[in-house]
């Protein structure tokens, strides 16, 4: 009698823990799948960024942009898989697993956007592009889910957005230096103004922003300095056409530039 009672209470505890085991393992497995997706997203986004840097040296910018867009479509599909995993979950519970991938995507997609539109892609626009329609509406898990089952969304957090934009500034700086190297006299000034706006924006946020952002502020300031230096040098150089040595600047100039284009 005593023993049976023991047995019953024992199995109550044990069976409760079996439930916990399953719950924890499921959670952990999901986390792991999300980490893997995040790594894939990071790599593909980085490659997109490299591809986009080619725009300063190729004749056909549009071609590169389209190719990049295709790559980003692939990335968005992966983000769709994350959204699938997070269906019905509290996304903050698994946020650490995929935050770095999402940041890299923000960096890539906003770089793409800047090259095409010369403006800063907003968080709302990013999120608007992360809506996924699923074909497999066959599986209806819960009764209430029916009408929303075929549309999934993913929401980039404002912190991830800011961190991605902070990294974007590094790529903008690289692009600026490359443009100067390619004899482009306008892009550097455009980039300088844009970068200064972003810098001032971050300075305005100050320590209200997330901690990780303030860590990146120093690099951002350095990038801005490099871009401002480049513009300064363009202006100083442009100021100087010494009269006693003046040649036909424009003709020789265009010759050089044509040659540049051939090489690219």
């Amino acid at each position: 009698d005593q023993k049976t009672e023991d047995f019953v209470s024992q199995s109550a505890v044990i069976s409760a823990f079996r439930v916990f085991q399953q719950e924890l393992d499921t959670r952990h497995d999901k986390y792991e799948r999300l980490v893997k997706l995040s790594r894939d997203i990071t790599i593909e986004s980085k490659r997109t960024i490299f591809l986009l840097h080619r725009v300063t040296s190729v004749p056909n910018v549009e071609e590169v942009l389209n190719e990049a867009d295709n790559k980003l479509d692939g990335v968005r599909q992966k983000i769709g898989q994350i959204a699938e995993e997070l269906r019905g979950e509290d996304i903050y519970q698994f946020h650490k697993a995929f935050t770095s991938g999402v940041q890299e995507y923000v960096e890539a997609v906003s770089f793409h956007h800047f090259i095409r539109h010369r403006t800063l892609l907003s968080l709302e626009e990013i999120n608007a592009a992360l809506v996924f329609i699923k074909d497999e509406t066959v599986v209806i898990k819960a009764p209430g889910e029916i009408q929303g089952a075929c549309v999934l969304t993913f929401q980039v957090t404002s912190t991830d957005y800011l961190l991605g934009v902070a990294d974007l500034t590094g790529e903008l700086m690289r692009m600026c230096i490359s443009s100067v190297g390619n004899g482009d006299m306008e892009t550097p000034f455009e980039l300088s103004n844009f970068l200064r706006d972003i810098h001032d924006g971050f300075a305005y946020l100050g320590n209200v922003g997330p901690y990780e952002v303030s860590k990146k502020l120093h690099t951002l300031r350095q990038s801005l300095g490099k871009v401002e230096d480049a513009c300064y040098m363009l202006r100083v150089r442009g100021s100087e056409i010494p009269k006693h040595m003046l040649a036909d600047v424009f003709s020789s100039r265009t010759a050089v530039m044509e040659q540049d284009e051939e090489v690219a």
Partner: protein, 227 residues
């Protein structure tokens, strides 16, 4: 939208977020205060005189838990329900303490392991994540492990107080708990570290039982008969 406008926009987000956190922090302070009060009530069971009216102490603690429920009720109004894990760090610590206190009260009352559902009821949280402010399974487990360590202390002090039956009952209970935990695959995280501590609690209690048994003080009839 200009860059400046966008940053103002985001600044809005961030300020709102900070306010939410400030609000949460205040409620959590209240919760911590109440938790300390419950702890003070329950700590007295370790004293020789404390063994006599455990039921009374449990009643007192139960009363204080109704204050906890009020705080929790307030807490859940401070942020959107689906963002629980966004702010988790703010209340994780106190919730683990409260889960411990709830499971300790239940143990003192019934000498059995509180279920997650019961803890949720005592604290006034939901059980299921989907339903709202809930108790995370890892926080529940952490609370249970804190209780285990409290029980090893109780085993020691019950001997001092002359209660020789209790250690054996605690030993059985804690062994069952240990078997449960052995089923889990923990990561290298705080919970794992706490679980490593359980082994020492089990060991300590085993030593008390040994001390009693070599002196013929471990009276079998009392062991488990009172549930």
């Amino acid at each position: 939208m200009s860059v400046t406008e966008m940053f103002s926009h985001i600044q809005g987000f961030l300020s709102a977020d900070q306010e939410v956190r400030e609000d949460i922090r205040k409620v959590v302070q209240g919760l911590e205060q109440t938790a300390r009060e419950i702890l003070t009530v329950l700590q007295s069971v370790h004293q020789p005189t404390g063994f006599k009216d455990i039921p009374n102490k449990c009643l007192k603690a139960r009363e204080l838990f109704s204050t906890v429920q009020i705080h929790i009720g307030e807490l859940r109004t401070k942020f959107p329900v689906e963002q629980y894990y966004r702010f988790h760090e703010h209340w994780r610590f106190v919730l683990q303490r409260l889960a411990f206190l709830a499971s300790f009260v239940v143990y003192l009352e019934t000498e059995s392991l509180v279920t997650r559902e019961e803890v949720a009821k005592i604290l006034g949280t939901e059980v299921n994540r989907e339903k709202g402010f809930h108790l995370d399974v890892e926080d529940y487990l952490a609370g249970v492990l804190i209780m285990a360590s409290e029980l090893s202390r109780l085993a020691v002090n019950s001997v001092t107080a002359g209660d020789y039956g209790r250690p054996l009952r605690i030993s059985n209970f804690i062994n069952e708990l240990d078997s449960g935990f052995r089923l889990l695959n923990l990561k290298n995280d705080p919970l794992r570290k706490r679980y490593d501590g359980l082994k020492y609690d089990v060991k300590k209690i085993e030593e008390v039982v040994y001390d009693l048994s070599i002196r013929g003080l471990a009276k079998e009839p009392e062991a488990g008969g009172d549930k």
